[in-house]
Symmetry: C2
Subunit: 341 residues, 2 copies
């Protein structure tokens, strides 16, 4: 299993499996490197990057925020400016795929370079994206990377995965660590293929199988499938006269966020999709709760689910009284799959 | 599920389900009440009470240790003396069932009274015992009680359960909390039957079923079954000329610890039990690693498993060259089940 974990993280570093959800994994990464008053640069552009900031604050760290509008992605030059202005930055912490807004940080490789050049660590919350989108941890200078079991890896929820670069260990060893999230202990036990505490055994077996499936498929094919499905969604959304939340270049391949038309009720549309068409999508999180819809497009997603979701969304919006061209959406989605071959 | 949780904890307080193993549950309890320099009295009499102390220290707490020989249980008067001498004690933290030595703290109710009389909270690590042994949380003044899903509740591992008394909330609210183990957030979400983070869904379903099974059975019958099986083990051990580690009054009903005869090798005996008789038992933990055997006698344990284990243990010891009366052990175990009726 360890070898397959390193494969999905594209790393020669260590990868640990935690009996904790993604939030626990991110807390683990943060708490193993952040001491009181440490300067940590954190772009905030959605619900989960707010949480990342909060975790840094709870450790007593000085969170140096790069505040952005929800739906925007931080750019490398913005991060660089904040890092250089702050000086003596211990780490940059980035949510790679902001699940709350459907935004992916396309500049992550460049941000990794900025971290490296400034002697800072790069911590990445990749909970909802690892396995679904390119993320070569070593090549992009990611020092601590966190994934969830239940997102693009398509395993049941309950585990999180944390990778640690060789460079990060020196900092971790000097940091007072929590007992449950102590990466040094995990490394010690990991060397004899154990965990320091009772693991969620049934989920470990599921993860083992899920990783084998990624390996058989290949990461490249996984990335391609997620990209195709996401683009089919975006094409369909635009063809139906709806509007994705992020700008084109920032759009996630795993979480599709679109603005809710003003003339319908968010919960009502989703209830109709669920009851009549058996398709579950989300509303927004945090301050965008009412304004957007979010579609999870990850893991085992294929053309069938894309088409089913587009037609359910179009039909529910029509039922709710919003004028919409569902057929055009379905046609646009279908064409994206044809053009793949 | 919440109602069944309150039933097994015998509490009117709150009970939360954490996506974390028992160690995480105990860290949650400790980290929600311990601030730097807080005085916490902790009896140390085995591997898990050492860990409990370590968790207090990692929070910056002042762990006031009551050190005991491994295999002994702390008595109420010993705890009282330490508490009164220390003065201004914020909490007493006790491992109710010390899994490493097979010892149960029979004075726990009295210790609860001492905590109450001294204005201190009582934190109990009941990971390996809740559901298998009497533990009326409210009646015994337990303020934070932690159980594991995979022990006496017979659910797969990966969840822990934490109860919180009404009295404890005032302290928790004033304590700077970790993000993942924040009980105040759990309470907020719990009120709408949610968790603050993605839970281990498949394990929640398993726990729901496991709790229903406890309820159908009744706690009293569960306690009785654990007691009978444990006494059958102890009777068999003594009839075979072997020696339980703890004194009679301190012996656990869920974990049976016995001294390894000097003329055999610990790992070899256990390997033989596993390979020839398909019975897995443990060696010791920490400093008793080589000296003792430990038998898990919890959850779905019945006469069948007791007899199978006693005969496997006797036979493996005989094969390893230790003179032993296996038949007498089996007979003693059998008689204990007969006498129950």
């Amino acid at each position: 299993m360890v070898e397959n974990l390193k494969y999905v993280f594209q790393t020669e570093g260590d990868v640990f499996i935690l009996t904790a959800s993604g939030t626990g994994g991110v807390e683990c990464a943060v708490s193993n490197i952040v001491n009181p008053h440490d300067k940590i640069v954190v772009p905030v552009f959605g619900f989960f990057s707010e949480r990342l900031k909060e975790k840094i604050l709870r450790r007593g760290g000085e969170a140096i925020e790069l505040p952005l509008q929800w739906g925007k992605a931080p750019k490398a030059d913005q991060v660089k400016e904040v890092v250089e202005k702050a000086g003596d930055v211990k780490a940059i912490a980035v949510v790679y795929n902001e699940t709350s807004t459907g935004v992916t940080v396309r500049d992550l490789a460049k941000i990794g370079k900025i971290a490296k050049d400034n002697g800072a660590l790069l911590v990445v919350d990749a909970v909802s994206v690892l396995g679904g989108e390119q993320l070569p941890v070593d090549e992009w200078n990611v020092d601590l990377c966190v994934a969830g079991s239940q997102k693009c890896l398509a395993c049941p929820p309950g585990l999180s995965l944390v990778s640690v670069s060789k460079k990060a260990w020196a900092t971790i060893e000097k940091t007072p660590r929590s007992f449950y999230f102590d990466l040094v202990e995990m490394k010690k036990f990991g060397e004899r293929c154990e965990t320091p505490y009772t693991p969620a055994v049934s989920l470990f077996f599921a993860l083992d199988e899920a990783l084998k499936m990624v390996r058989e498929d290949s990461l490249e094919k996984r990335f391609e499938r997620h990209k195709t499905c996401a683009e089919a969604f975006y094409n369909a959304i635009e063809a139906m006269g709806l509007e994705p939340l992020p700008e084109k270049e920032d759009r996630s391949h795993t979480v599709i966020a679109l603005r809710k038309p003003a003339d319908v009720n968010n919960a009502e549309v989703r209830r109709m999709m669920k009851e009549r068409y058996k398709v579950v999508i989300s509303g927004g999180a945090g301050k965008l709760r009412e304004e957007i819809f979010r579609i999870g497009s990850m893991g085992m997603i294929t053309e069938a689910e894309v088409i089913q979701t587009v037609s359910a969304l179009g039909n529910a919006l029509a039922e709710a009284g919003h004028p919409i061209k569902t057929g055009a959406g379905i046609e646009a989605a279908r064409l994206r799959f044809v053009s793949r071959d």
